[in-house]
Amino acid sequence: MTLETLSQLKLSNAQIAWRAAQDILDGSYVNLGIGLPELIAQFQPEGRKITYHTENGVLGFGEAPDSGDEDWDLINAGKKPITLNPGASFFHHADSFAMVRGGHLDLAVLGAYQIAENGDLANWRVGQNGVPAVGGAMDLVHGAKRVAVMTDHTTKDGKPKLLKACTFPLTGVNCVDRIYTSLAVIDVQGEKFILREKHKDLSISDLQSLTEAELHVVGTLENFDVPEDI
């Protein structure tokens, strides 16, 4: 498959976020990673109450404030200004990561450079050069009841990001439960990638050619049902 065909076919970041948002249950406590996963909050389905956690000590934050209304003591872990929803709370960093490591969050969604079929995640540095920065990712991948990843299915030059083994430095081992990509929804179970949903215009073998590790089908395989106009 050419890069051009691939880029026409794949879901936009907003569409991946929409798909991930559909799985977040009413009443959940959720941490959305800086970058792509943050988009998920925009697509929270009507009627569900979801409480968002951010590492720097806020539970129950809402949308960004209007320009001019920013309060720089009220920011998220990405250092962006936020607002509060009714029922919000503030706490110090040790309590914040007690929520994370202690299994109190229902879901954490992170970005990824690479994911291995055993659930290993690499998302914090691409080699030994430059200045490393890890933030809260290594804690988040071991604390939340479910850990999901949101990513393009391949790198910009079409190389697989879903691998037999990660080659970049790891964020955590055996930690990813579900992967939302631009072409598929994949679960990690028993150290295998289980294909759950795929783009309707892609065959399993097309998808396999863009995935280094083997894709398994167990039970029913669905096609994506994602709105076109987002």
Binding site: W72, H92, G135
Partner: protein, 240 residues
Amino acid sequence: MVEIYKSLADSVSKIQDGEVLMIGGFGGSGSPIELIHALIDRFSATGSPSRLTVVNNNAGNGYVGIAAMIRAGMVAKMICSFPRSSNAKAFNEKYLAHEIELELVPQGTLAERIRAGGAGIPAFYTPAGYGTEIADGKPTESFNGKMHVRELALIGDHAIVKADVGDTSGNLTFRMAARNFSPLMCMASKNSIVQVRHLVSSGQIKPANVMTPGIFVSGLIEVPNPEQEELLVRKEAVHQ
């Protein structure tokens, strides 16, 4: 007893060369800009304190606060989780020139190491970082079928933090998410200096509203209209 300082210069006078200094704040939120700048002014005038080990989540932004300390050449080592910001040039240049050491710590581990330091727990096990380069050289152990990494407590010789209201007993409240690491750093440091926006008499903060009890606080100084680091960075303010 809590010392009430009258000048910023006095409040940071005990910090010596080579010591461990914990600095509150997460990015700009909670950053004690006035205390940091008082320390830089002392270094500019006297050459001390130098060779500091600084503990903060980040490693400074722009030309103010911790970034200005790094530019001034006062910092030998940063212990932080995320030495990246909108303008992290100060740290990046020193780091890539091997002029500053970095101990990179996952954010939750950093918080817990500081909490442990304040709580008399010398070490603890966490799942964070197991199987990654962060765990290199550290003891590991399986608990409940899951592997964990041993991490050591962090203790500061000093902490400098920003709070909202402080009373003369040292009790503190913090404003919104400006709380972050500051209560932990006050616990974990032998000399905790707090700049407060409002200094009130003992009893003026209701006991139920105290966020950090005064037992963790060594000294207070009132700074009624503190600068906000994020706004200073945005207008490219420079402290040198």
